[in-house]
């Protein structure tokens, strides 16, 4: 068993899942992984079973937070030291897993795969959102997170336990703000990311706007009232 568990939440990813998991299984056998099928209505679960992938098959759709938490519950039960959140759509590149693992072993709680640590952030609507969240994080925690919306994050054992057991621990920037305020140590590693391979992104303009309102309200207002433990 490796120290690291790669958690791959997948919702309707039948087009991409074979390429994503296939590459991990073939070229990175030193890492354990688990696919969490989030009640997909397409053939995601069936493909995983046919290919013999490690699969947790949720019977109903829980959303990203619920699916990811399932993976971390598994990591916690099995005693993994580290867990990685990894997208099932091909955006994240496995070549950066080892550098992240090296970084977290320096004694960090969370390591974020960041597109903009040393690279400049391009100008677009989506990056405007990223900047706003970055500003909100800076205001509430004093810490600069260059790529707060990156979905590729690694957590240590202590974080795994919290994410596995508690309410309001979605894998999103507002949880990050709350954890940093409570003393979590966060580092970033510069990476490159791909566009998703196939299929439509969930992030339509309306959903993005909703996401932004939710994140900003949560970071600036609500997280301040949370008590830890």
């Amino acid at each position: 068993m490796s120290k690291l568990l790669i958690v791959i939440p997948a919702y309707n990813e039948q087009e991409n899942i074979v390429r994503v998991v296939g590459e991990l299984a073939d070229h990175y056998p030193q890492f354990d992984y688990v696919v969490v099928n989030d009640g997909s209505s397409d053939g995601t679960a069936e493909i995983c079973r046919r290919q013999g992938y490690h699969l947790i098959d949720l019977p109903v759709n829980l959303g990203l937070a619920g699916a990811f938490q399932t993976g971390l519950k598994y990591a916690y039960r099995r005693g993994y030291e580290y867990a990685l959140q990894f997208d099932g759509d091909g955006q994240h590149l496995p070549e950066y897993i080892q550098p992240m693992l090296d970084k977290i072993q320096e004694g960090y709680d969370i390591v974020i795969a960041s597109r903009f640590l040393t690279e400049k952030k391009p100008w677009s609507m989506r990056m405007l959102g990223s900047n706003l969240i970055q500003l909100a994080l800076k205001l509430t925690t004093g810490v600069t997170v260059h790529d707060p919306t990156s979905g590729m994050r690694m957590f240590n054992r202590g974080m795994i336990r919290e994410f596995a057991q508690r309410l309001n621990y979605g894998p999103e920037p507002d949880t990050l703000s709350y954890l940093i305020k409570n003393g979590a140590r966060v580092a970033e590693v510069q990476v490159r990311m791909e566009e998703r391979l196939a299929g439509a992104s969930y992030l339509t303009p309306i959903n993005s706007a909703k996401y932004m309102v939710r994140m900003l309200l949560s970071i600036l207002l609500i997280q301040n009232f949370r008590k830890r433990g």
Partner: protein
């Protein structure tokens, strides 16, 4: 819009916010659900601090008095909330049914194999 109504609106919104924050503190409510109430309180506060806004919008939609406009707005927002809660309750019940049935069926199938 009377001073009394403004005070009531402010008090109601502050109370709503305090109650919601307390629930969040004790991990009793999800942040997604708290956001509606935070926004709702903000709307009430805005109307009580800037009553001119209520007058203007009341003229615009043609209600008899600004206070009526506020009542209408509150009723509308609550109706939307009740509706969305009904939808969510239905979905939750459907998922619960599916889960219970799945567990029971799998237990029976496991029993047969032994």
């Amino acid at each position: 819009m009377s001073t009394m109504l403004r005070i009531c609106l402010i008090a109601a919104s502050v109370l709503t916010t305090v109650m919601m924050m307390n629930k969040i503190r004790r991990s009793r409510v999800q942040i997604e659900d708290a956001i509606f109430w935070v926004l709702f309180s903000l709307v009430l506060i805005v109307f009580s601090v800037f009553p001119g806004l209520a007058y203007w919008m009341s003229d615009l939609v043609g209600t008899q008095a600004p206070s009526n406009f506020i009542f209408m707005l509150v009723i509308f927002l609550l109706l939307v909330k009740v509706f969305s809660l009904t939808v969510r309750l239905s979905q939750t019940e459907a998922r619960l049914r599916e889960l219970v049935q799945k567990i029971a069926l799998e237990e029976m199938e496991d029993g047969h194999e032994k």
